[in-house]
């Protein structure tokens, strides 16, 4: 089978250049602040098309990014353009109907800013390889109980989904749901929620008893801290890119 573009530049390839957790965190913070203060439509478009899109493809998260852009941002963008370009027909601070072009441009800028913000967050966090996830959050200063909460959440999400699937499947198998129409699925919600909450509480009690027996809280304080490893080339590249973006946007803002 001939490998696709995304397969060639998949996350596995990118891991050679995976930045260190600290560089990743610093780059994310700088890129987010830079995007929030950016008000240049063309620069935002260039940042998205020229930098973020290729990086999301190279990082193997292009599908998630496009899903975010189409499913979430699509309706938001349409609404922004409709409201600011046609209904209000002016940017904020100007009289209603005074400048449809500027209103449209403002709507585009807000939509692009959201796109870039979402892309930056996805690029910084979704590209962390699963085996590096816990080490990364530990390098960000999350220790002890905080680490248990984050690790537990990541582990329990799929388990909770499995439990709800089991309840629904059992109801389908017993013939309690005549068909899978919208109204029937909606009616299953009460039957799903109570067993799910009861399981959550029972599970919390069981886990707490096990942790108590094993002295988990005391052991958490003595866990050794692993070094925050990562590619120095990748770290330098992402930090340079993010801080250049931040500095340029600050300079643009200051110069008016």
């Amino acid at each position: 089978m001939k490998p696709s573009f995304e397969m060639v530049f998949s996350g596995v390839q990118m891991r050679r250049y995976e930045p260190s957790p600290r560089a990743r965190g610093a780059a994310a913070a700088a890129a987010i602040v830079g995007t929030l203060i950016s008000n240049d439509l063309h620069l935002l478009l260039l940042a998205w098309l020229g930098i973020l899109l290729p990086l999301t493809i190279a990082g193997g998260i292009a599908r998630q990014h496009m899903k975010f852009v189409t499913v979430f941002l699509g309706p938001v963008t349409a609404a922004l353009l409709l409201v600011w370009g046609w209904m209000v027909a002016a940017p904020p601070g100007m009289p209603v109907g005074s400048s449809p072009e500027e209103g449209l441009s403002f709507g585009c800028m807000v939509a692009l800013r959201l796109t870039v913000l979402g892309g930056v967050i996805q690029l910084c966090f979704l590209t962390i390889s699963p085996e590096q996830l816990i080490a990364t959050v530990r390098c960000w200063g999350l220790r002890g109980e905080g680490l248990v909460i984050v690790a537990g959440t990541l582990a329990l999400g799929p388990e909770l989904r499995l439990r709800s699937d089991q309840v629904l499947t059992a109801r389908y198998a017993r013939g309690l749901v005549p068909n899978r129409s919208f109204s029937n699925r909606l009616r299953q919600l009460p039957f799903l929620l109570r067993p799910l909450l009861a399981w959550v509480l029972r599970s919390a009690i069981q886990r707490s008893e096990i942790w108590h027996q094993r002295g988990l809280l005391a052991r958490l304080q003595t866990l050794p801290v692993e070094p925050c490893a990562g590619s120095s080339t990748g770290s330098a590249f992402f930090v340079f890119l993010a801080f250049s973006w931040l500095v340029y946007n600050i300079a643009t803002r200051v110069s008016g």
């Binding site: 975010f68 979430f72 938001v76 349409a78 609404a79 409709l82 409201v83 209904m87 209000v88 904020p92 209603v96 709507g107 800013r113 959201l114 913000l117 979402g118 892309g119 967050i121 996805q122 966090f125 979704l126 999350l142 220790r143 002890g144 109980e145 905080g146 248990v148 909460i149 984050v150 690790a151 537990g152 959440t153 990541l154 582990a155 329990l156 999400g157 909770l160 709800s164 919208f182 699925r185 909606l186 919600l189 799903l192 929620l193 109570r194 799910l196 909450l197 009861a198 959550v200 509480l201 029972r202 599970s203 919390a204 009690i205 886990r207 707490s208 008893e209 942790w211 108590h212 809280l217």
Partner: protein
């Protein structure tokens, strides 16, 4: 985030391991319910039921952690815009905690009043984020109200606050009713492990300490 489970609140359970074990489950519940309701296309969000439940069961600090962390994790895996609304989740936990202290979840009539109040709080707290990040338009049904108000000459912040006050109380009332209905259906023996004053005060737990 050290010592998250220390219980200096008046109605927290005393077992720190139990609170610590409940937090990831509350976060997962928050995320799962939101995703589930989104999947079956129900006309409500249900993104704060876990926050309300954990606040009632384990106190304000636990509720804030569940709300904020679930929106941060949701921001990474579900929708990158969610973390910006973490403050709203914290406000929901704080409001729920003080409402529960006053016994505002005791009857369904009181829960409706509490839900309306929670909707107002959530609407006001999320308005600056919607204004700054989305320029008032989030693509939801409430955006129609914002658009109408903007076209009538109101500022973006005014429009967002007013639309939030119109739309949020219904959603938050439904979420409060759902949380209370869920807690009322849980066996007493199970709830008794989360022994705290709020559960007695709001009638979720019955027994010798009912008048606490």
């Amino acid at each position: 985030m050290e010592n998250l489970t220390r219980s200096n609140e008046t109605h927290s359970p005393t077992n720190p391991q139990l609170v610590l074990a409940l937090l990831p489950l509350g976060i997962a519940l928050n995320l799962s319910l939101g995703t589930l309701v989104h999947t079956i296309k129900a006309p409500i969000y249900v993104d704060a039921v876990g926050t309300i439940l954990v606040t009632l069961l384990a106190g304000m600090r636990a509720g804030i952690i569940v709300g904020v962390v679930s929106f941060i994790v949701g921001g990474i895996f579900v929708n990158p815009v969610l973390p910006w609304f973490s403050g709203t989740q914290a406000a929901i936990a704080i409001y729920t905690y003080f409402a529960a202290k006053k016994g505002a979840f005791r009857t369904y009539k009181l829960v409706i009043v509490t839900g309306v109040g929670l909707g107002i709080v959530a609407g006001v707290v999320s308005a600056p984020v919607i204004t700054a990040l989305f320029a008032g338009i989030t693509g939801s049904g409430a955006s129609l109200i914002v658009a109408f108000l903007l076209a009538s000459g109101k500022s973006v912040l005014q429009s967002v606050v007013l639309s939030g006050l119109a739309a949020e109380p219904l959603d938050k009332t439904i979420q409060c009713l759902l949380a209370v209905w869920l807690l009322r259906g849980i066996p007493q023996t199970l709830l008794d492990r989360f022994h705290n004053e709020a559960l007695f005060r709001n009638g979720f737990l019955r027994g010798a300490n009912e008048t606490v």
